[in-house]
C-alpha cells in the first residue's frame, strides 16, 4: 500500500515535470524607469501595464505552452544605464523582445543595440519623431506628437479661434524639444502667430519669470512642451500670475497623467491634449483592463499603462502568428504585419514606418479628469 502510494506520487510528479519542461518560457525585457524623477511616473505605469498584460495572456492560455516572463530593469531615466541594461537583457537574459525604454533620450542611445541584435523593441512612451526610424526592429504603440497635436490645435481653433500663441518647452529633453518643433510647425501652418517662446530645464520648479514674460505678450493660447509634473506647475503658476482661465493651455501628449490634475488643481481646467487612449474609452477590452488594473495596483491606469498593455498584446499576437519566437526575422515581420488588432487602445495597426495607426482623441481636463472634449 505504502509503496504503491509512493510510486503514484513519483509518477504524478514526473508528469508535472514533463509538462513544465514542455512549456516554453519567453523572457520579455521591460526597461522602464521606476526611479529618477519625472521619468519614474511614466515608467511605473508602463511596467504595471506590461506586467498585467503578460499575466493576463499567460492565464488565458492563448499562447498554448508559451509562458511570458517579464524581466523588469530600472534605468532611472539615465540613458547610460539604459544601454547597459539593454546589453545585459539581450546577451545574458536572452530576452526575445524589449518593452521600453521610458525616455526618448534613452531610446536613441539603446535601441540601436537591440536592432543590431535583431531583438524587437516596442516602446510605449517614446513620442518624439524618429524613434522607429532607428531600425527595422523598432516599433512603438505611443502615438507621436505629430500624429495627435494638429488635431488638438484644429479643435482649439474651432472652439476658441485663437490668433496668437505663446510656447514654453523643456530645452534639455529630446522629447520636449521635438514636441516644440511639432507645435511650432502646426501653429505656423494654422496661421497662428507665436508671440513668445520660452524654455525651462529639468528640475526647474520656478517658472514665474518665463510666465511673466508670456503674460506681457498676452497670447490667446499657451502651448506647453513639458512632462505632466512640469506642465502642472506651469499652468498653476500661470494662473497665480494672473494669466486668465480664458487663455487655454494646450499640452504635449506626455502631459497626460492623473498627476497633472492632482498638482495643478482647478488651474488646469480646460487644458487640451491629444491622446491615443483615455480611461473612459468605450470598449469591452478597455473596460476590463481598467478594472483589472485598479484591482491589481489600487490606482487608475493612464495612457502609458494602456500603451504598454497594448504593446504586450501586440507582441503576443505576433508570437502566435509567427508560430513561436525561434526566428527573429519572422517574429519581426509578424509584429510589423499587425493589422486592426483589438487592443485597449482600440483597433491597432502599424504603418510602413512601424508607427502606430489609431484614432487620436482630443481630451479636455474637466472637473479634475481628462474627458473627451465636447464637440461644438
Amino acid at each position: 500500500m505504502h509503496t504503491r502510494l509512493t510510486r503514484l506520487l513519483v509518477a504524478v510528479s514526473a508528469c508535472a515535470l514533463a509538462t513544465s519542461a514542455l512549456a516554453e518560457d519567453v523572457k520579455l525585457g521591460v526597461v522602464q524607469s521606476t526611479s529618477g524623477g519625472s521619468a519614474a511616473l511614466y515608467g511605473t505605469m508602463q511596467k504595471n501595464g506590461a506586467e498585467l498584460a503578460a499575466a493576463e495572456i499567460n492565464a488565458s492560455g492563448k499562447l498554448g505552452d508559451i509562458k511570458l516572463v517579464p524581466v523588469h530593469q530600472d534605468d532611472a531615466g539615465d540613458r547610460g544605464q539604459t544601454v547597459n541594461i539593454f546589453q545585459r537583457l539581450i546577451n545574458q537574459d536572452k530576452v526575445k523582445v524589449i518593452f521600453g525604454p521610458t525616455l526618448t533620450t534613452s531610446a536613441f542611445a539603446a535601441d540601436p543595440i537591440a536592432n543590431a541584435a535583431k531583438v524587437p523593441v516596442i516602446a510605449s512612451s517614446n513620442t518624439a519623431p524618429g524613434v522607429p526610424a532607428i531600425g527595422e526592429y523598432i516599433f512603438r504603440t505611443s502615438a507621436p506628437e505629430a500624429a495627435v497635436f494638429p488635431g488638438v490645435l484644429a479643435y482649439a481653433q474651432k472652439r476658441y479661434s485663437p490668433k496668437t500663441a505663446a510656447q514654453i518647452y523643456g530645452i534639455d529633453d529630446v522629447l520636449m524639444k521635438a514636441a516644440y518643433g511639432v507645435h511650432k510647425a502646426a501653429l505656423d501652418k494654422a496661421g497662428i502667430k507665436v508671440v513668445a517662446t520660452e524654455t525651462f530645464q529639468k528640475g526647474d520648479v520656478d517658472y514665474s519669470a518665463q510666465l511673466t514674460k508670456i503674460k506681457a505678450a498676452n497670447p490667446d493660447i499657451i502651448v506647453v512642451g513639458g512632462l505632466a509634473e512640469e506642465t502642472a506647475n506651469i499652468v498653476r503658476q500661470a494662473r497665480q500670475l494672473g494669466i486668465p482661465q480664458t487663455t487655454v493651455f494646450l499640452g504635449a501628449n506626455a502631459a497626460i497623467s492623473t498627476k497633472l490634475a492632482d498638482l495643478a488643481g482647478p488651474a488646469a481646467e480646460g487644458f487640451l491634449v491629444g491622446s491615443g487612449w483615455f480611461i473612459d474609452f468605450d470598449s469591452p477590452l478597455n473596460k476590463a483592463f481598467v478594472e483589472a488594473y485598479k484591482a491589481k495596483y489600487g490606482s487608475s491606469p493612464d495612457t502609458f499603462a494602456a500603451q504598454a498593455h497594448a504593446a504586450v498584446t501586440i507582441f503576443a499576437d505576433a508570437v502566435k502568428r509567427a508560430g513561436g519566437v525561434s526566428d527573429p526575422a519572422k517574429l519581426r515581420t509578424a509584429i510589423a504585419d499587425t493589422k486592426d488588432l483589438d487592443t485597449v487602445l482600440g483597433p491597432f495597426s502599424f504603418d510602413n514606418d512601424r508607427e502606430p495607426v489609431l484614432a487620436a482623441k482630443v481630451l479636455e481636463l474637466k472637473d479634475g479628469k481628462f474627458q473627451l472634449a465636447p464637440v461644438k
Binding site: G36, E198, T199, S208, A209, G242, L263
Partner: protein
Amino acid sequence: MTTFLQQVVNGLSLGSIYAVFAIGCTLIFGVLNIVNLAQGAFFMVGAYLGLEVALLGLPLPLALAVALVGGGLLGMASELLVFRVLRMRGGHKWMGLVASLALARLLVGLAQEIFGTAVHGYPPSSLTAMVWEVGGVRVQLLQVIVVVTAVVLMAILGFTLQKTSMGRAIRTVAFSEDVARIVGVEVGRTILATFFIAGALAGAAGVLLGLLFNVVSPFMGEHMLVKGLTVIILGGLGNIPGAVAGGFLLGLVEVFSVAYVSSAFRDAIGFGLIFLILLVKPTGLFSGFEERRA
C-alpha cells in the same frame, strides 16, 4: 514697468529661499570648514516632513516647526555619526565629503522607498490661493509668508550669532578650534549646535520651496545644493550677510536673465557670474567678514 516689478517680486521670493538654505551651507562649509554635501538631502527631508504634517490637516507654522527640528536633528545626527567619527579617527577632510555624499544618497533612496518618486504638492488651502494685485503686480500671500519667514529666520540667526554665548562660541570655533579650547569653549558641543542650526535652516527652506512651488520630490535637494554652493561662493565662504545677499542676488539674476536675455541662458548666466566673481574677487562679493568674524 509692471512686468519689471513682477519680475522683482518673482526674484525676491525665489532668492529668499536660496538665502535661507545658503546660510546653513555657509555655516557648515565656511564657518566650520566642513564640506557637508548632505545639506541638500536635509532640505528634501524637511520638505517631506512639512508635507506630512500639512497632509494631516495641521497648520503651516507647525509644518515649518517640524521641518526645522527634523532638519536640525538630521544635521546633528550627521555630525555625531559621520563627521565626528571621521575626525576622531584622523580621517582626511575629503573623507567627510565622500561620506556626506553617501549620506545624501542614502536619504534620497529612503525617501524614494517611503514616498515614491512622483512629485507631490502641498494640499491646497485658502491661505495658499490668496493673491493680491497691486498696480498690475500679483503678489501671493505665500510669497509674502516665504519672504517674511526667511527674514525672521535670518534675524534670529544673526541675533544668536552676535548676542548669545552660543553664537560667540561658534564664532570662536570658526576662528580657531585651539583658541576656542584654550578659552574654555566646548568645541564638540558648539560644532554640534552649528550642525543643528544648518540642518534646521535646510529643512525650513525645503518647506518654503515646497509650499511656494508646489513641488516635493526625493530629488529636489540636488538642484538646491548646487544653488546653495553658488550662493556661498557669491557671498564669500563663511560670510553670513554675504549668503543672505548672495541668495537674493542669485534669485534676481536668474529671473532677470530669463526676463531680459533668454530662458535658455539662465544657468549659463548664473554660473558665468560665478566665474567672473571668482576671477575678479575670489573671496566673494561681500568679503571682509572673513577678517572680522573672530
